[in-house]
Every structure is written in C-alpha cells, then in structure tokens.
Amino acid sequence: MKGMTVIVKTVTRWVKVFIFLYGIYIIITGHLAPGGGFAGGVIIACSYILLMLAYGREFALKQLSSRAAHRLDSSAALLFLVVALLGLGYGGIFFGNFLQARYPGAAFKLLSSGTIPISNIAIGIKVAASLFLIFIILSVLRIVPGEDGTNKMVQDEEEE
C-alpha cells in the first residue's frame, strides 16, 4: 500500500499549501510578531512530513530529495555564518547588525531591523531541512532484536 486512503490524500492536497505558507509567514514576520526561524522551520518540515505520511516515501522524496535537503541544510548554515562574518567585516563585531546601523528601517515594517530577517530565513531553511532529514532517517531504519539479546538497526522496506 502506497500512502494512505483517498480521503487523507485529498485533504492533504488542500492543506499542505496552507501549512507551508503559514511556516513562511512565521519565518518572515519573526522580527515583528511571535514566532521566528525555528518555529517556522518546524512548521515547514511538518508540511513535508504530512506529504510523506499521506503519499508514501517515494512521492515526498521526489518533491524534496534527501540530497537536496542536505544541500539546503548546509547552505543555510553557511548563510547564517556569512551574515555573522559580514557583521564582523562591516561593523567590526561578530554578528553585528551592520544593516541596521547603516540603513535603519522604520520600526514595525516588514523591511526593518537589518540582518535579523536574513538570519531568521537562514535558520528556518536549516531547521526545515534538518527535521525532514531526521524523519527520513527514522522512517528508513528499524530496530530488530538479534538472537544474542542485542538490538541491531536494519533498513525498513517500503510497504507495497
């Protein structure tokens, strides 16, 4: 059996977009409203995990392969570090908010507070890709008791 029933698949098709959009909203308004990169990233990962639970592993991996999730994870971590190093280069302080010091935006606007939204986006992408990878790993491996009392991990086979 690939995935779940038709009801679950249809509901997932409608709901997944809204979960994804809500995650993006939580990330990009992290400096104005409660939320931020970590919470938004977890919600985006939830949308992909919903896809995987409803449609099966193959379909979800076609949308976001584990290799792509890997690259997103690493490049978002690098982006966060680059923001910190730019703060060191331009402002003289590691993680200095050099954009806010040079171009102070109006408070309570979306484009304000310098490097904080960029860091939020980086953390959001990183957390989403990481949690998706963790779910792939956990759903692939399975713990089986061996004969001599020790447990070993074997690969879980896709149900058909």
Partner: protein
C-alpha cells in the same frame, strides 16, 4: 493569584501525564500521554505570556509525536526483563528526597513568583534590552532581537548542535548508501544479512 491556580492545575495535569507515560504498558498510550504533557506545557507558556515559546513548543510537540509514532508504533516492543534491586531503589528514593529538599530551599531563596530579578536589580542587562532594544535593533519582537542580535552566539551554537546531530545520524546511514549504489538494495541487504548469519553460525560451531 488567579493565574497561579490555573498554573497549578496545569502542572498537576503535566505530572500525571508524565507518570502515565512512564508506567503505561501500551506504547501508543505512552506516546499519547507524552503529547498531553507537551500541549499542557505550551498552554502553561501561554498563561505565562510567552507566545514565542508556546508556538515553538506546539510545533515541536506535533513533530515529535509524529516521529515517535512513526518510529515506535507497529515495531516490536522489547519488554524489560530483570529484577528490581532493592538497594538501588532505596538509593534512588533518597536522592529524590534530597533533590526535593534542596529544590525547596533553593526556590525559597529566589524572588517571589511574578517579581522578576530585573525589577529589583537596576543595571541588569535585561533592562537595557527592554529599553533600547527597539532603537538599537529595529525589531519589534524583543525576543527575536535578543535571539538574533544581542545573543546571536547562542543561536549559532544551537544551529551547530542541530547540524552535528544530522551529521551523526547520517553517518549511521552511510552503510546503506554504499550498498544502494551496487545494486537493488533489497537483494543486497538480504544477501549481507544471510552472509552475516551464516558466518555467525559457523563461528558457533
């Protein structure tokens, strides 16, 4: 006073949920009561006026429930065997009592609930964050301003911890990726399984 009563009820609910999660025989009911603990915690954060923490707690709790159910339910349950060592139980009880007494006196020495330390210490850094946070960082959400500007080192450390965890988990998976390239993975895994079993059997003889 009103909020404290709600909080007390919630905390009792959380403790009962945690006890059920530990003692439940069925794995599914243990996971569900663990979820009740998490959602109770997020409501407690809302009562304490920390919406950022509440959002993170709810999102992480949902994803953790999915992880636990996907990773544990429907898999084999290995019942713990062995006898209870009475000496160990006594030591554990004594340690619990000691921690409880220590915690009681430690919390007695803290400020009263609802009267934070920043109200009594004038030059605490939190006062500066609250006063100058909007002007210096431009972020309307002071929690984000502290997380990503004043205390960004901590956030970098958190991101590093997550990154290291992913690398460790993928290192466990590395053997699978190597076998996947050589051929159909089911055949390969079956063959290695049988080969391993055969060699072990030979060793036993």
């Amino acid at each position: 006073m009103g909020i404290e009563i709600y909080l007390l009820v919630l905390l009792i609910f959380i403790i009962v949920g945690a006890l059920i999660a530990v003692e439940a025989k069925n794995l599914l009911s243990a996971v569900i009561s663990l979820g009740a603990v998490g959602f109770g915690l997020s409501i407690a954060f809302l009562f304490l006026r920390a919406p950022d923490l509440a959002i993170v707690q709810i999102a992480v709790e949902v994803i953790l429930l999915i992880f636990f159910i996907r990773a544990t339910i429907g898999r084999d349950i290995i019942p713990a065997k062995g006898h209870i060592h009475w000496a160990g139980l006594v030591v554990v009880c004594l340690l619990m009592v000691a921690v409880f007494v220590f915690g009681f006196f430690a919390f007695r020495s803290l400020n009263e609930f609802g009267a934070p330390i920043i109200a009594s210490v004038q030059d605490a850094p939190s006062n500066k964050y609250l006063k100058d946070g909007l002007k210096e960082t431009g972020a309307a959400n002071i929690v984000t301003a502290v997380l990503l500007d004043y205390r960004a080192y901590d956030t970098l450390g958190e991101a590093t911890v997550l990154f290291a965890a992913i690398i460790g988990a993928l290192a466990v998976l590395r053997g699978r990726a190597a076998t996947e390239k050589t051929g159909s993975r089911r055949n390969v895994s079956r063959r290695t399984e049988s080969r391993r079993a055969g060699s072990e059997g030979r060793k036993d003889k």
